[in-house]
């Protein structure tokens, strides 16, 4: 039995069976476009640099939209509106940091990561950590943490993809898992991240248009004569309270984990390496932020509209919150638009899986060998092999046990955040940070996340409302980073090479 947790909701969740000719036709068309992009990208992928960072040849719009698409996954269209329907305004705190996080990421990391790529030809996130701290141990630990998180995160995404494919084609979950993985793997292995970013661009553009159209429909039918607030407030006032049905601390905790934690998501940070011209970063925060806002209109609109429709008795209360988007689309929007959104969900999950495949393969092929003092001679070939291995492992995990998938998925985001935020967001901007501080914070993030999530999963204890293992791990790794750096401050200057120092000071 598959147990869905909030994290699996974030990745996509379940869908009612949708199999209808129009929906199937649009889904097939979608997959054909993705296949065409894969073939085109495969012909242009000739080196490890092409495979992992698109040869540093991506334009600004492509990079910004790809970063947006990789960030949102199927969450924006399925899990998010469902969460909004059940938690009310509290769910908004997951996306509320968008107001600051795009520019925050640009100021703290985009320029420095891209310049490190320029100066040293770096291609991975652990590359940046190793260059900053001159440490193979920090590189290796970061790569291990990323691999563990990637397997968990990919497994939840592949499970969600299997559910969507099953819902569209009626294939059954097991077949849906392997069909989804096979399609994603086909274009990822052949075209690497180049195929991924252009698929992201296509899918991100479709997502944005679909989101706006669906939002207009939510305004038209959702509010009724009294509007959303006039309908919902008399019946369920807490739904529209600023924290929704959560405590203030729990809602604010979302802001912390998803806002500050976003600085440590390697599938997004990794894209900064790909930008062709570093000075094009000038407009990155604006394009990224606007693209995200547009794509999230559906998240808020559908959540409010479905709640309003349920209050007015025009929809029965949902048994599963994840049904909010499918129910709304199938009942209140044209079938073609529904089909585009359903296919968009599949494509969104595929784009996220592709990003993880690329980041994971790079960690396995590039970072771990270097951490052990070795270098793989044919990184392109072994990158492709690693992509296959990681994908198969994640799919087996996704199919093996629903509760295991949920368990692994829970700490995917948390592991990225707690292990990478201190060394990247602070380490790249503060010359007082030390190698020991970086290693200690990565180890702390890894251990605290695994221990607390395992204990919580085994129900050894329950956290009070608002406290999560992810949040505790992020706070702990930040504190350890500062404390250890302070105690070892005499060694701070020794870890900095001239070019890295310049990149940090510029």
């Amino acid at each position: 039995m598959i147990v869905l947790t909030p994290i699996s909701l974030l990745q996509g969740g379940t869908l009612p069976t949708l199999a209808q000719p129009t929906i199937i036709a649009v889904a097939v068309a979608y997959f054909l476009v993705v296949a065409a992009i894969g073939v085109w990208a495969a012909r242009r992928t000739r080196s490890a640099s092409d495979f992992f960072v698109a040869g540093q040849g991506i334009g600004l719009w492509t990079m910004a939209v790809a970063a947006m698409a990789a960030t949102l996954s199927g969450f924006a269209f399925i899990g998010g509106p469902g969460l909004m329907y059940s938690l009310g305004m509290g769910a908004v705190f997951i996306i509320l940091p968008i107001g600051v996080s795009g520019t925050l990421g640009a100021w703290t990391m985009a320029k420095r990561i891209r310049l490190l790529g320029e100066a040293r030809g770096l291609i991975t996130v652990p590359d940046a950590i190793a260059a900053r701290f001159n440490s193979r141990l920090a590189r290796g630990l970061a790569a291990v943490a990323m691999l563990v998180a990637i397997i968990g995160y990919m497994a939840t995404n592949i499970l969600a993809l299997g559910l969507v494919i099953d819902a569209i084609f009626g294939s059954g979950l097991f077949a849906g898992l392997w069909i989804g993985m096979a399609i994603t793997l086909a274009y990822s292995v052949s075209g690497g991240i180049l195929a991924g970013v252009y698929t992201d661009l296509f899918q991100g553009a479709v997502m944005s248009v679909a989101s706006v159209l669906v939002f207009l429909f939510t305004l038209k039918v959702g509010g009724g004569d009294a509007g959303f607030a006039g309908t919902i407030l008399p019946v369920d006032a807490p739904f529209l309270a600023p924290w929704g049905k959560m405590t203030p601390l729990a809602a604010l905790s979302f802001f912390f984990v998803f806002g500050i934690g976003s600085l440590g998501q390697p599938h997004v940070v990794h894209k900064f390496y790909m930008l062709r011209e570093p000075r094009k970063l000038k407009w990155y925060p604006l394009i990224m932020s606007v693209a995200v806002i547009i794509s999230l209109l559906l998240f808020i609109g559908v959540g409010l509209a479905v709640k309003s429709l349920v209050v007015r008795g025009e929809l029965p209360p949902l048994e599963r919150a994840d049904d909010a988007t499918p129910f709304f689309l199938l009942r209140f929007t044209p079938l073609l638009l529904s089909a585009v959104v359903f296919s968009g969900v599949a494509a969104a999950i595929m784009s996220t899986v592709n990003s993880f495949m690329s980041v994971g393969a790079a960690a396995l092929t590039h970072d771990l060998p270097i951490a052990f003092g070795r270098k793989v001679t044919n990184e392109l070939f072994w990158g492709r092999m690693s992509t296959v291995v990681i994908s198969i492992v994640a799919t087996v995990v996704a199919g093996a046990s629903g509760t295991l998938v949920a368990f692994l998925g829970i700490f995917g985001w948390g592991l990225f955040a707690s292990t990478l935020v201190p060394s990247l967001a602070i380490g790249l901007n503060w010359s007082g940070a030390t190698r020991a501080g970086s290693v200690a914070s990565i180890a702390t993030g890894l251990v605290v996340t695994l221990v607390f999530e395992t204990l919580a999963f085994l129900e050894v204890f329950t956290f009070p409302a608002g406290v999560t293992a992810t949040a505790l791990a992020l706070v702990s790794s930040l504190l350890v980073f500062f404390v250890v750096s302070w105690f070892t401050r005499h060694s701070a200057a020794a870890t900095l090479d001239d070019d890295v120092r310049f990149v940090m000071e510029v």
Binding site: G102, L104, L252, R279, W283, F482, D497
Partner: protein, 157 residues
């Protein structure tokens, strides 16, 4: 100096956030815990921005205004949601939402988007990355690769 202050502020913010989580384990800690989280979040967001903005020997210059604005918006938005009374049915709506929810969604969620990306773009050439900066990085890259090449050749020899 600016970076040192920003690091100190980030440490302070981390402690505030840790304290907020600790409050959840203390009976009656919810209210001050929420305030501790608000102060910690606003401080951390802005102090990390300052860390990214500040260059060697320089402060944040004219970016002080948008950065201060961001801090105020976050504290005021969340603070108002904590302080203002619960809305009643038939009360005033702001852009379709009750006042407190509107302050959070439109204030904290949207207002910074109107300011920060533009502030980033308008100050990019002189405060983030100029042509001269990029040329220097490229020159350092050439030096680095030459050094690596020499080391490799020496190693082989």
């Amino acid at each position: 100096m600016t970076k040192r202050i920003a690091v100190g502020a980030t440490v302070f913010a981390t402690c505030c956030i840790a304290l907020a989580y600790a409050s959840a384990f203390v009976p009656g800690g919810g209210e001050w815990g929420a305030w501790s989280m608000v102060i910690g979040l606003a401080t951390m967001v802005v102090s990390l921005m300052v860390l990214g903005v500040a260059r060697r020997g320089r402060g944040v210059g004219r970016l002080a205004v948008p950065l201060a604005f961001t801090f105020v918006v976050i504290v005021a938005g969340f603070g108002a949601a904590l302080l203002l009374p619960v809305e009643t049915v038939g009360g005033r709506l702001v852009l379709g939402l009750p006042l407190r929810a509107a302050l959070v969604l439109y204030g904290v969620g949207l207002l910074p988007i109107l300011v920060l990306p533009l502030a980033y773009a308008l100050t990019f050439d002189d405060m983030t990355l100029s042509e001269a900066d990029l040329a220097r990085v490229r020159a350092l890259g050439v030096e680095y690769r030459a050094r690596q090449g020499a080391d490799a050749a020496g190693g082989e020899g």
